[in-house]
Symmetry: C2
Subunit: 243 residues, 2 copies
């Protein structure tokens, strides 16, 4: 009866070029750090105009697959940085009407097991980095922006100690979303600062002792504390997050 055809897909050349280069990077035929030929050469190889190549490069650049190393004109292959990926995801979440409640729930689920994994897998180098981050956070004193930044850094160090890039990358957008509201909270709730530092220290102790249960527990308390802070600060948890 009803003869149905699929939409015939016409892919513009710039997307085909981007796909071709991207495929080479994903398959590791182009290795990290390797430099791409100049645009004119790429245009010659693909048989398209330089403008078309440039559009393709912009796409790969924004996916983090290519970047220009400082002080070099040629593009080089790179593995996407956590911060860039996290920014993409957090922007997406902002547009999907994420609330403080959503974010907090995700942190509650993700962070305690992540702390436990860190306690299990940490090396002494990880320990040192984490200790440094915690000290830096304490040293931020009254500078709220710095405190928040460095608290996020403590979480990042914890994830690094867990040696699981999946968890580390899953966490990144949460940290980026957390920052603005956390700044407000700390400004309004003076005691929050010291509670955060205290939680960090306990966490470090547990991770150092490779005590998974304790690490999980202190991280859980830490996250619960965030929620209490939000409530004390009078922040509506069902409010949409903003950039």
């Amino acid at each position: 009866m009803s003869v149905e055809f699929d939409r015939v897909l016409i892919e513009p050349a710039y997307r085909k070029v981007a796909a071709a280069i991207g495929e080479r990077i994903l398959s590791r035929a182009l290795r990290e750090g390797e430099r791409l030929p100049p645009e004119t050469e790429l245009a010659r190889q693909f048989g398209v105009n330089r403008s078309t190549v440039r559009e393709a490069l912009r796409e790969l650049e924004s996916r983090g697959l290519l970047r220009r190393r400082p002080g070099s004109k040629l593009m080089s292959v790179s593995r996407p940085q956590h911060s860039a990926i996290g920014q993409g995801v957090s922007h997406a979440l902002l547009l999907h009407d994420v609330t403080v409640q959503h974010l907090w729930e995700a942190l509650t689920i993700l962070e305690p097991p992540l702390a436990a994994a860190a306690a299990r897998a940490r090396t002494t180098a990880d320990l040192e980095a984490l200790g440094g981050a915690i000290d830096a956070c304490g040293a931020a004193a009254v500078d709220t922006a710095a405190t928040v930044q460095r608290t996020a850094e403590v979480f990042r160090c914890t994830a690094r100690a867990a040696h699981n890039p999946v968890l580390g990358l899953a966490q990144e957008p949460l940290l980026q979303l957390l920052e603005p509201s956390l700044r407000i909270m700390i400004d309004r709730v003076p005691q929050a600062r010291s509670r955060i530092i205290a939680a960090h220290r306990r966490l470090l102790e547990a991770i150092e002792a490779q005590d998974e249960a304790a690490a999980r527990d202190w991280m859980a308390r830490h996250i619960r504390d965030f929620r209490r802070g939000y409530e004390l600060a009078g922040i509506d948890l069902s409010l949409r997050l903003t950039a």
Copy 2:
């Protein structure tokens, strides 16, 4: 002594244009679905060449902030689709040497609480969608690719039932990474298919009954089963994932 200067940053025009439009979208000054002016008009407004505008558009397009609705030439504002974001993240993870073990660990952490949240927050509509996805998975019969696709869809429905976009988006890259290796596993381990279906049914029952503990538990078993399947299939868990 050592006078240090920060690197002076020169931003090319195409990135400034992209940032300007992106900022408008993020701040919701441009609402979803709204159509962007034509490229020539944008070029006029920004005072740059159309080629420059196009490079900026490619960047926003690949971030999922803009897209062309089928059968329309003008770009329109869109919220990034989960699949697109997930693809970006999973590509990043592939380049960061993620192993099956890493992926499985992340699933172990994320999925059971997500199932519990679904049991708590599900509506009857969610239930219906989940039931449909599970039936579809069962109906895939011997078609491995379809089975895997539809298993992922069951997870997506579960996340949707949890009504937390953060969790849904965090899960997406994991599902995309899972597919290739899961296909291999199911092909090698015949009994895996029926175990998966059985787990789905138990999960649905628990979510329907709003039994959080049971939902968490069955999901945990489901994920554990994956691991057993990998071991039976002789897949080395410390092997790097590939596209």
